[in-house]
């Protein structure tokens, strides 16, 4: 048996014309932002709609008062709930500014940073915070650590976390989604519980 393993760091020369075609090949997601017109259109029309389908359930759970949505398409739901304020990463600013949002989008270098979360707690005084949890996390332990850090910086508010399993890099051969969620709940403060939003999306939330 002969096995060849490649990743994108080392695989560039393994196939003939592949190497020669490098200059016209794309793989980097962040380069979307260099040519944003089509990407912005897609984000607004397709992603917003897709996201709406799984997030309608959350709108019903929100308590009265200000609801902060972190990097989570909150601007798409302001008609449904005018108390929603979006915090988005700065890299999205260029195309999000094209969307009419009545000044309800704030931008931060990192919406999940300690500083941003503390700013939100102190100056926005939200009754709820909604965030997505996806490709920036890699496994259960890293996930639990990051979420516990976030939770710590958002005291006295209801927290809703959408686990986007289509983006989480966990071992899908070793574990089921349910196992991942159950194990994660054990690593979070006791008040957190879960609810399935769609096949690949599970909501983890507390009820203070």
């Amino acid at each position: 048996m002969q096995v060849l393993l490649h990743n994108f760091i080392s695989n560039m020369t393994s196939l003939s014309s592949y190497k020669n075609a490098q200059n016209s090949l794309k793989q980097n997601y962040s380069t979307y932002f260099l040519q944003i017109e089509n990407f912005a259109w897609w984000m607004k029309k397709r992603k917003g709609k897709q996201t709406a389908n799984k997030q309608l359930g959350i709108l019903k759970l929100l308590p009265k008062g200000t609801s902060i949505w972190l990097n989570n398409f909150g601007y798409a739901f302001i008609d449904e709930n005018p108390n929603i304020i979006s915090f988005e990463n700065k890299q999205n600013k260029k195309f999000l500014e094209k969307i009419n949002h009545n000044g309800k989008i704030f931008f931060s270098d990192d919406v999940l940073s300690k500083t941003t979360l503390q700013y939100i707690t102190k100056y926005q005084k939200p009754t709820s915070v909604v965030l997505r949890y996806g490709h920036q996390y890699t496994d259960l332990e890293a996930t639990a650590k990051k979420l516990n850090d976030i939770i710590k910086n958002l005291p006295n508010t209801n927290i809703f976390i959408i686990l986007e399993f289509e983006h989480i890099y966990y071992n899908r051969i070793r574990y089921t989604q349910k196992h991942f969620t159950d194990s994660l709940l054990q690593l979070l403060p006791k008040l957190f519980k879960c609810k399935e939003l769609s096949f690949f999306d599970t909501l983890v939330y507390n009820d203070i």
Partner: protein, 152 residues
């Protein structure tokens, strides 16, 4: 919004002509044999024009693109049904799921996925491509994990 496949949609994000790396790799694999009897399985509409001699039985080569939610049981059955000299399996690893835990497999997902496929194609040489970066590439949205198998 017109309904087009995800590969074509991704390509609209860039103005200049280009190809996605993972797609170019597939084209390169079949470059010299693209006129051979080819079976296309799964999310392959983007490749309809690339392969001229498409067949539904007795293929010489197979391209299987798995880009929808698929259980490991289904995935295994699909792989076991493929019999051809040349096979490319391109899978979106973020859309696979299991229905039961399996604590004995390698803890590294990319490695355990390779083991999974190698177990099915036991005596075959497999050329394996996978994406390590998790934040800024297309790997969560398209089949960037690829297995190239030759029985020539």
């Amino acid at each position: 919004m017109p309904k087009i496949n995800w590969i074509s949609r991704q390509k609209t994000f860039f103005k200049e002509p280009h190809e996605l790396k993972q797609i170019q790799r597939i084209k390169d694999f079949f470059e010299t044999t693209k006129n051979a009897p080819t079976m296309l399985l799964g999310d392959t509409s983007y490749f309809d024009a690339y392969f001229i001699n498409k067949v539904t039985t007795d293929p010489e080569q197979v391209l299987f693109v798995c880009n929808t939610a698929t259980s490991l049981v289904e995935f295994k059955q699909q792989l076991q049904s493929i019999k051809a000299k040349r096979v490319c399996i391109a899978v979106n690893k973020f859309r696979l799921y299991s229905t039961q835990n399996s604590n004995t497999v390698n803890s590294n997902y990319d490695m355990s996925l390779f083991d999974f496929v190698q177990n099915i194609y036991k005596d075959s040489k497999i050329d394996y491509f996978y994406e390590e970066d998790l934040g800024d590439k297309f790997n969560f949205a398209s089949p960037t994990t690829q297995f190239y198998i030759k029985h020539d």
